[in-house]
Symmetry: C2
Subunit: 186 residues, 2 copies
DNA sequence: GTCTATAAGCTGATAGAC
DNA sequence: GTCTATCAGCTTATAGAC
Protein backbone atom coordinates (compact mmCIF):
# COMPACT_ATOMS: atom_id res chain seq x y z
CA UNK A 1 0.00 0.00 0.00
CA UNK A 2 1.48 3.31 -1.08
CA UNK A 3 1.72 6.32 1.22
CA UNK A 4 -0.76 8.07 -1.01
CA UNK A 5 -3.29 5.26 -0.43
CA UNK A 6 -2.62 5.28 3.29
CA UNK A 7 -3.38 8.99 3.39
CA UNK A 8 -6.65 8.50 1.52
CA UNK A 9 -7.63 5.63 3.79
CA UNK A 10 -6.87 7.64 6.93
CA UNK A 11 -8.76 10.64 5.56
CA UNK A 12 -11.84 8.52 4.82
CA UNK A 13 -11.87 7.15 8.34
CA UNK A 14 -11.48 10.54 10.00
CA UNK A 15 -13.81 12.46 7.72
CA UNK A 16 -16.81 10.30 8.53
CA UNK A 17 -16.38 10.77 12.26
CA UNK A 18 -15.20 14.39 12.43
CA UNK A 19 -16.33 15.92 9.14
CA UNK A 20 -14.26 17.55 6.42
CA UNK A 21 -13.38 20.81 8.09
CA UNK A 22 -13.34 19.15 11.47
CA UNK A 23 -10.44 16.93 10.46
CA UNK A 24 -7.05 18.69 10.42
CA UNK A 25 -4.50 17.60 7.86
CA UNK A 26 -2.05 17.02 10.70
CA UNK A 27 -4.38 14.38 12.13
CA UNK A 28 -4.75 12.69 8.74
CA UNK A 29 -0.98 12.51 8.35
CA UNK A 30 -0.58 11.11 11.85
CA UNK A 31 -3.28 8.47 11.32
CA UNK A 32 -1.68 7.51 8.03
CA UNK A 33 1.74 7.25 9.65
CA UNK A 34 3.39 9.85 7.42
CA UNK A 35 4.80 13.29 8.02
CA UNK A 36 2.75 16.41 7.62
CA UNK A 37 4.77 17.60 4.66
CA UNK A 38 4.35 14.27 2.88
CA UNK A 39 0.60 14.75 2.75
CA UNK A 40 1.07 18.03 0.89
CA UNK A 41 3.56 16.40 -1.42
CA UNK A 42 0.80 14.09 -2.73
CA UNK A 43 -2.16 16.43 -2.37
CA UNK A 44 -1.25 20.05 -2.84
CA UNK A 45 -4.33 21.29 -0.98
CA UNK A 46 -6.81 19.75 1.40
CA UNK A 47 -9.62 20.36 -1.06
CA UNK A 48 -7.82 18.35 -3.73
CA UNK A 49 -7.38 15.52 -1.25
CA UNK A 50 -11.13 15.50 -0.59
CA UNK A 51 -12.16 15.47 -4.24
CA UNK A 52 -9.63 12.78 -5.13
CA UNK A 53 -11.02 10.66 -2.34
CA UNK A 54 -14.51 11.23 -3.71
CA UNK A 55 -13.50 10.21 -7.24
CA UNK A 56 -11.80 7.15 -5.75
CA UNK A 57 -14.88 6.01 -3.88
CA UNK A 58 -17.16 6.72 -6.82
CA UNK A 59 -14.97 4.62 -9.08
CA UNK A 60 -14.98 1.81 -6.54
CA UNK A 61 -18.78 1.80 -6.51
CA UNK A 62 -19.18 1.94 -10.27
CA UNK A 63 -16.72 -0.93 -10.74
CA UNK A 64 -18.63 -2.94 -8.19
CA UNK A 65 -21.93 -2.32 -9.98
CA UNK A 66 -20.55 -3.04 -13.41
CA UNK A 67 -19.02 -6.39 -12.51
CA UNK A 68 -20.58 -9.20 -14.57
CA UNK A 69 -23.47 -6.98 -15.54
CA UNK A 70 -23.43 -8.24 -19.13
CA UNK A 71 -24.68 -11.62 -17.93
CA UNK A 72 -28.10 -10.06 -17.36
CA UNK A 73 -30.48 -9.94 -20.31
CA UNK A 74 -33.79 -8.23 -19.50
CA UNK A 75 -34.19 -4.73 -18.11
CA UNK A 76 -35.58 -6.24 -14.92
CA UNK A 77 -32.58 -8.54 -14.47
CA UNK A 78 -30.16 -5.70 -15.05
CA UNK A 79 -32.02 -3.39 -12.71
CA UNK A 80 -32.14 -6.06 -10.06
CA UNK A 81 -28.44 -6.74 -10.38
CA UNK A 82 -27.58 -3.07 -10.00
CA UNK A 83 -29.94 -2.40 -7.10
CA UNK A 84 -28.96 -5.43 -5.05
CA UNK A 85 -25.27 -4.90 -5.73
CA UNK A 86 -25.56 -1.28 -4.71
CA UNK A 87 -27.14 -2.27 -1.42
CA UNK A 88 -24.47 -4.94 -0.87
CA UNK A 89 -21.78 -2.41 -1.58
CA UNK A 90 -23.22 -0.13 1.09
CA UNK A 91 -23.31 -2.92 3.66
CA UNK A 92 -19.83 -4.17 2.84
CA UNK A 93 -18.33 -0.68 2.69
CA UNK A 94 -20.15 1.34 5.34
CA UNK A 95 -17.33 3.88 5.60
CA UNK A 96 -17.29 4.50 1.86
CA UNK A 97 -21.08 4.70 1.82
CA UNK A 98 -21.17 7.19 4.68
CA UNK A 99 -18.47 9.29 3.09
CA UNK A 100 -20.33 9.25 -0.22
CA UNK A 101 -23.53 10.47 1.41
CA UNK A 102 -21.66 13.07 3.41
CA UNK A 103 -19.89 14.39 0.35
CA UNK A 104 -23.03 14.34 -1.81
CA UNK A 105 -24.79 16.51 0.77
CA UNK A 106 -21.90 18.85 1.42
CA UNK A 107 -21.05 22.12 -0.28
CA UNK A 108 -18.04 20.40 -1.89
CA UNK A 109 -20.29 18.73 -4.40
CA UNK A 110 -20.96 22.12 -5.96
CA UNK A 111 -17.37 22.35 -7.08
CA UNK A 112 -17.90 19.25 -9.20
CA UNK A 113 -19.76 19.42 -12.49
CA UNK A 114 -22.86 17.37 -13.12
CA UNK A 115 -21.05 15.53 -15.92
CA UNK A 116 -18.26 14.52 -13.56
CA UNK A 117 -20.83 13.40 -11.01
CA UNK A 118 -22.62 11.15 -13.50
CA UNK A 119 -19.36 9.83 -14.99
CA UNK A 120 -18.87 6.07 -14.72
CA UNK A 121 -22.61 5.66 -14.29
CA UNK A 122 -23.62 6.02 -17.90
CA UNK A 123 -24.51 2.32 -18.02
CA UNK A 124 -27.28 2.90 -15.45
CA UNK A 125 -28.84 5.62 -17.57
CA UNK A 126 -28.63 3.39 -20.62
CA UNK A 127 -30.50 0.60 -18.85
CA UNK A 128 -33.26 3.00 -17.82
CA UNK A 129 -33.51 4.36 -21.36
CA UNK A 130 -33.67 0.86 -22.75
CA UNK A 131 -36.39 -0.07 -20.25
CA UNK A 132 -38.48 2.93 -21.18
CA UNK A 133 -38.25 2.24 -24.91
CA UNK A 134 -38.99 -1.49 -24.62
CA UNK A 135 -42.00 -0.70 -22.44
CA UNK A 136 -40.90 -2.43 -19.25
CA UNK A 137 -40.51 0.85 -17.33
CA UNK A 138 -43.03 3.65 -16.96
CA UNK A 139 -42.52 6.43 -19.45
CA UNK A 140 -41.28 9.31 -17.32
CA UNK A 141 -38.10 11.39 -17.20
CA UNK A 142 -35.14 9.03 -16.78
CA UNK A 143 -33.49 11.40 -14.31
CA UNK A 144 -36.60 11.22 -12.16
CA UNK A 145 -36.46 7.43 -12.18
CA UNK A 146 -32.81 7.52 -11.19
CA UNK A 147 -33.46 10.07 -8.44
CA UNK A 148 -36.21 8.01 -6.85
CA UNK A 149 -34.28 4.77 -7.22
CA UNK A 150 -31.15 6.30 -5.79
CA UNK A 151 -33.05 7.74 -2.84
CA UNK A 152 -34.88 4.49 -2.12
CA UNK A 153 -31.66 2.47 -2.34
CA UNK A 154 -30.06 4.82 0.18
CA UNK A 155 -33.02 4.20 2.43
CA UNK A 156 -32.58 0.44 2.12
CA UNK A 157 -28.89 0.71 2.95
CA UNK A 158 -29.51 3.00 5.92
CA UNK A 159 -32.01 0.57 7.33
CA UNK A 160 -29.75 -2.44 6.84
CA UNK A 161 -26.83 -0.64 8.47
CA UNK A 162 -28.98 0.22 11.47
CA UNK A 163 -30.45 -3.28 11.79
CA UNK A 164 -27.72 -5.57 10.42
CA UNK A 165 -29.47 -8.66 11.73
CA UNK A 166 -32.28 -8.08 9.23
CA UNK A 167 -29.98 -8.07 6.22
CA UNK A 168 -29.99 -11.26 4.14
CA UNK A 169 -30.94 -12.49 0.67
CA UNK A 170 -34.62 -12.18 1.53
CA UNK A 171 -34.09 -8.55 2.41
CA UNK A 172 -32.58 -7.91 -1.01
CA UNK A 173 -35.47 -9.74 -2.69
CA UNK A 174 -38.14 -7.82 -0.83
CA UNK A 175 -36.31 -4.55 -1.25
CA UNK A 176 -35.91 -4.90 -4.97
CA UNK A 177 -39.52 -6.00 -5.43
CA UNK A 178 -40.60 -2.74 -3.79
CA UNK A 179 -38.32 -0.65 -5.98
CA UNK A 180 -39.36 -2.45 -9.12
CA UNK A 181 -43.06 -2.01 -8.45
CA UNK A 182 -42.59 1.72 -8.25
CA UNK A 183 -40.90 2.05 -11.64
CA UNK A 184 -42.20 -0.92 -13.63
CA UNK A 185 -44.82 -0.46 -16.32
CA UNK A 186 -47.55 -2.85 -15.14
CA UNK B 1 -37.63 39.16 14.48
CA UNK B 2 -35.46 38.63 17.53
CA UNK B 3 -31.68 38.70 17.39
CA UNK B 4 -31.68 35.04 18.24
CA UNK B 5 -33.83 34.32 15.17
CA UNK B 6 -31.63 36.50 13.00
CA UNK B 7 -28.60 34.50 14.11
CA UNK B 8 -30.29 31.20 13.29
CA UNK B 9 -31.38 32.51 9.90
CA UNK B 10 -27.90 33.73 9.06
CA UNK B 11 -26.37 30.45 10.21
CA UNK B 12 -28.72 28.43 8.00
CA UNK B 13 -27.83 30.50 4.97
CA UNK B 14 -24.08 30.25 5.54
CA UNK B 15 -23.98 26.61 6.59
CA UNK B 16 -25.50 25.37 3.35
CA UNK B 17 -22.94 27.18 1.24
CA UNK B 18 -19.82 26.84 3.40
CA UNK B 19 -20.53 23.88 5.67
CA UNK B 20 -20.61 23.75 9.45
CA UNK B 21 -16.93 23.96 10.22
CA UNK B 22 -16.35 26.12 7.19
CA UNK B 23 -18.52 28.88 8.60
CA UNK B 24 -16.89 30.94 11.37
CA UNK B 25 -19.10 32.30 14.13
CA UNK B 26 -17.77 35.75 13.34
CA UNK B 27 -19.26 35.50 9.85
CA UNK B 28 -22.61 34.34 11.23
CA UNK B 29 -22.72 37.30 13.61
CA UNK B 30 -21.81 39.70 10.83
CA UNK B 31 -24.45 38.28 8.46
CA UNK B 32 -27.03 38.49 11.25
CA UNK B 33 -26.06 42.09 11.98
CA UNK B 34 -25.09 41.46 15.58
CA UNK B 35 -21.84 41.59 17.50
CA UNK B 36 -19.68 38.56 17.97
CA UNK B 37 -20.29 38.44 21.70
CA UNK B 38 -24.05 38.57 21.23
CA UNK B 39 -24.00 35.27 19.37
CA UNK B 40 -22.37 33.60 22.34
CA UNK B 41 -24.84 35.22 24.67
CA UNK B 42 -27.65 33.27 22.97
CA UNK B 43 -25.75 30.13 22.03
CA UNK B 44 -23.00 29.28 24.45
CA UNK B 45 -21.12 27.13 21.92
CA UNK B 46 -21.20 26.76 18.17
CA UNK B 47 -22.31 23.15 18.51
CA UNK B 48 -25.36 24.19 20.52
CA UNK B 49 -26.22 26.71 17.83
CA UNK B 50 -26.11 23.98 15.20
CA UNK B 51 -28.31 21.53 17.10
CA UNK B 52 -30.83 24.21 18.01
CA UNK B 53 -31.05 25.12 14.35
CA UNK B 54 -31.63 21.48 13.51
CA UNK B 55 -34.42 21.13 16.08
CA UNK B 56 -35.94 24.32 14.71
CA UNK B 57 -36.01 23.10 11.13
CA UNK B 58 -37.27 19.67 12.14
CA UNK B 59 -40.14 21.25 14.06
CA UNK B 60 -40.96 23.43 11.07
CA UNK B 61 -41.22 20.37 8.83
CA UNK B 62 -43.33 18.33 11.25
CA UNK B 63 -45.74 21.22 11.74
CA UNK B 64 -46.04 21.56 7.99
CA UNK B 65 -46.79 17.85 7.59
CA UNK B 66 -49.28 17.73 10.44
CA UNK B 67 -51.37 20.66 9.24
CA UNK B 68 -54.97 19.56 8.52
CA UNK B 69 -53.89 15.93 8.49
CA UNK B 70 -57.00 14.85 10.45
CA UNK B 71 -59.13 15.68 7.41
CA UNK B 72 -57.76 12.55 5.72
CA UNK B 73 -59.54 9.29 6.42
CA UNK B 74 -57.91 6.30 4.70
CA UNK B 75 -54.29 5.24 5.03
CA UNK B 76 -53.78 6.08 1.39
CA UNK B 77 -55.17 9.59 1.80
CA UNK B 78 -53.03 10.23 4.85
CA UNK B 79 -49.92 8.86 3.17
CA UNK B 80 -50.58 10.95 0.10
CA UNK B 81 -51.07 14.08 2.17
CA UNK B 82 -47.79 13.53 4.01
CA UNK B 83 -45.74 12.64 0.94
CA UNK B 84 -46.96 15.51 -1.22
CA UNK B 85 -46.68 18.01 1.61
CA UNK B 86 -43.16 16.82 2.33
CA UNK B 87 -42.18 17.37 -1.29
CA UNK B 88 -43.86 20.79 -1.31
CA UNK B 89 -42.00 21.72 1.87
CA UNK B 90 -38.71 20.84 0.20
CA UNK B 91 -39.50 22.97 -2.85
CA UNK B 92 -40.76 25.91 -0.82
CA UNK B 93 -37.89 25.74 1.68
CA UNK B 94 -34.86 24.66 -0.31
CA UNK B 95 -32.45 26.09 2.27
CA UNK B 96 -34.08 24.24 5.13
CA UNK B 97 -34.21 21.06 3.05
CA UNK B 98 -30.54 21.30 2.12
CA UNK B 99 -29.55 22.00 5.71
CA UNK B 100 -31.63 19.06 6.89
CA UNK B 101 -29.92 16.71 4.46
CA UNK B 102 -26.52 18.11 5.30
CA UNK B 103 -27.09 17.69 9.01
CA UNK B 104 -28.58 14.21 8.67
CA UNK B 105 -25.47 13.09 6.81
CA UNK B 106 -22.98 14.83 9.07
CA UNK B 107 -21.23 13.52 12.16
CA UNK B 108 -23.34 15.91 14.25
CA UNK B 109 -26.32 13.63 13.95
CA UNK B 110 -24.51 11.12 16.11
CA UNK B 111 -24.72 13.45 19.08
CA UNK B 112 -28.50 13.27 18.86
CA UNK B 113 -30.37 10.24 20.10
CA UNK B 114 -32.65 8.22 17.85
CA UNK B 115 -35.63 9.13 20.02
CA UNK B 116 -34.89 12.81 19.58
CA UNK B 117 -34.52 12.28 15.84
CA UNK B 118 -37.92 10.60 15.53
CA UNK B 119 -39.61 13.09 17.87
CA UNK B 120 -42.49 15.06 16.33
CA UNK B 121 -42.82 12.38 13.67
CA UNK B 122 -44.69 9.82 15.74
CA UNK B 123 -47.83 10.46 13.67
CA UNK B 124 -46.07 9.12 10.57
CA UNK B 125 -45.17 5.86 12.31
CA UNK B 126 -48.75 5.55 13.55
CA UNK B 127 -50.12 5.87 10.04
CA UNK B 128 -47.78 3.16 8.79
CA UNK B 129 -48.73 0.88 11.68
CA UNK B 130 -52.40 1.47 10.99
CA UNK B 131 -51.90 0.72 7.29
CA UNK B 132 -50.14 -2.53 8.04
CA UNK B 133 -52.83 -3.73 10.43
CA UNK B 134 -55.74 -2.78 8.18
CA UNK B 135 -54.06 -4.54 5.28
CA UNK B 136 -53.55 -1.60 2.96
CA UNK B 137 -49.74 -1.69 3.31
CA UNK B 138 -47.42 -4.64 2.83
CA UNK B 139 -46.55 -6.38 6.04
CA UNK B 140 -42.90 -5.54 6.56
CA UNK B 141 -40.92 -3.69 9.24
CA UNK B 142 -42.38 -0.20 9.63
CA UNK B 143 -38.92 1.32 9.93
CA UNK B 144 -38.05 -0.19 6.57
CA UNK B 145 -41.12 1.36 4.99
CA UNK B 146 -40.24 4.74 6.48
CA UNK B 147 -36.62 4.45 5.33
CA UNK B 148 -37.57 3.69 1.73
CA UNK B 149 -40.29 6.32 1.66
CA UNK B 150 -38.00 8.92 3.17
CA UNK B 151 -35.26 8.12 0.67
CA UNK B 152 -37.60 8.19 -2.31
CA UNK B 153 -39.16 11.49 -1.18
CA UNK B 154 -35.69 12.99 -0.95
CA UNK B 155 -35.09 11.80 -4.49
CA UNK B 156 -38.30 13.46 -5.67
CA UNK B 157 -37.34 16.74 -3.98
CA UNK B 158 -33.81 16.66 -5.38
CA UNK B 159 -35.14 16.16 -8.88
CA UNK B 160 -37.72 18.94 -8.54
CA UNK B 161 -35.11 21.35 -7.19
CA UNK B 162 -32.84 20.58 -10.11
CA UNK B 163 -35.59 20.86 -12.72
CA UNK B 164 -38.06 23.35 -11.19
CA UNK B 165 -39.95 23.69 -14.47
CA UNK B 166 -41.11 20.07 -14.13
CA UNK B 167 -42.67 20.62 -10.73
CA UNK B 168 -46.48 20.92 -10.70
CA UNK B 169 -49.55 19.09 -9.38
CA UNK B 170 -49.05 16.38 -11.97
CA UNK B 171 -45.56 15.80 -10.69
CA UNK B 172 -46.88 15.27 -7.18
CA UNK B 173 -49.56 12.89 -8.50
CA UNK B 174 -47.11 10.80 -10.49
CA UNK B 175 -44.55 10.86 -7.70
CA UNK B 176 -46.96 9.67 -5.06
CA UNK B 177 -48.37 6.97 -7.31
CA UNK B 178 -44.86 5.56 -7.64
CA UNK B 179 -44.24 5.66 -3.90
CA UNK B 180 -47.61 4.12 -3.14
CA UNK B 181 -47.11 1.24 -5.54
CA UNK B 182 -43.93 0.27 -3.76
CA UNK B 183 -45.50 0.04 -0.30
CA UNK B 184 -49.17 -0.77 -1.00
CA UNK B 185 -50.51 -4.25 -0.47
CA UNK B 186 -51.96 -5.04 -3.90
C1' DG C 1 -28.67 42.50 26.44
C1' DT C 2 -25.31 44.28 23.43
C1' DC C 3 -21.07 45.75 22.26
C1' DT C 4 -15.61 45.96 21.55
C1' DA C 5 -11.24 44.11 22.36
C1' DT C 6 -8.54 40.43 22.97
C1' DA C 7 -6.17 35.92 23.75
C1' DA C 8 -4.84 31.17 23.51
C1' DG C 9 -4.75 27.63 20.44
C1' DC C 10 -5.07 25.53 16.26
C1' DT C 11 -4.82 25.10 10.95
C1' DG C 12 -3.30 24.82 6.25
C1' DA C 13 0.54 25.27 3.91
C1' DT C 14 5.75 26.28 3.06
C1' DA C 15 10.93 25.94 3.32
C1' DG C 16 14.67 23.47 3.36
C1' DA C 17 17.66 19.53 5.13
C1' DC C 18 18.46 14.76 4.04
C1' DG D 1 10.23 11.34 -1.67
C1' DT D 2 10.15 12.07 3.14
C1' DC D 3 10.96 14.43 7.07
C1' DT D 4 11.18 18.43 10.78
C1' DA D 5 10.49 23.05 11.93
C1' DT D 6 7.93 26.90 11.52
C1' DC D 7 4.69 30.74 10.41
C1' DA D 8 0.97 33.75 9.33
C1' DG D 9 -3.76 33.85 9.73
C1' DC D 10 -7.84 32.54 11.50
C1' DT D 11 -11.19 30.52 15.15
C1' DT D 12 -13.88 29.87 19.21
C1' DA D 13 -14.77 31.79 23.23
C1' DT D 14 -14.13 35.19 27.20
C1' DA D 15 -13.85 39.68 29.83
C1' DG D 16 -15.53 43.69 30.86
C1' DA D 17 -17.50 48.39 29.63
C1' DC D 18 -21.95 50.41 28.68
Amino acid sequence: MTKSDKILEAALKLFITDGFHGTPTSKIAKEAGVANGTLFHYFSTKEILISELYLNVKKHLSNYLNHNLDMCKTTREKSKAICTKWIRWGIENPDKFTFFQQFANSPFINSISREEGAKNFEFAFEIIEEGISNGSLIDIDKYLIISILFGAINGLIHFALEFPEKFDDDYLETGFRMLWRSIANI
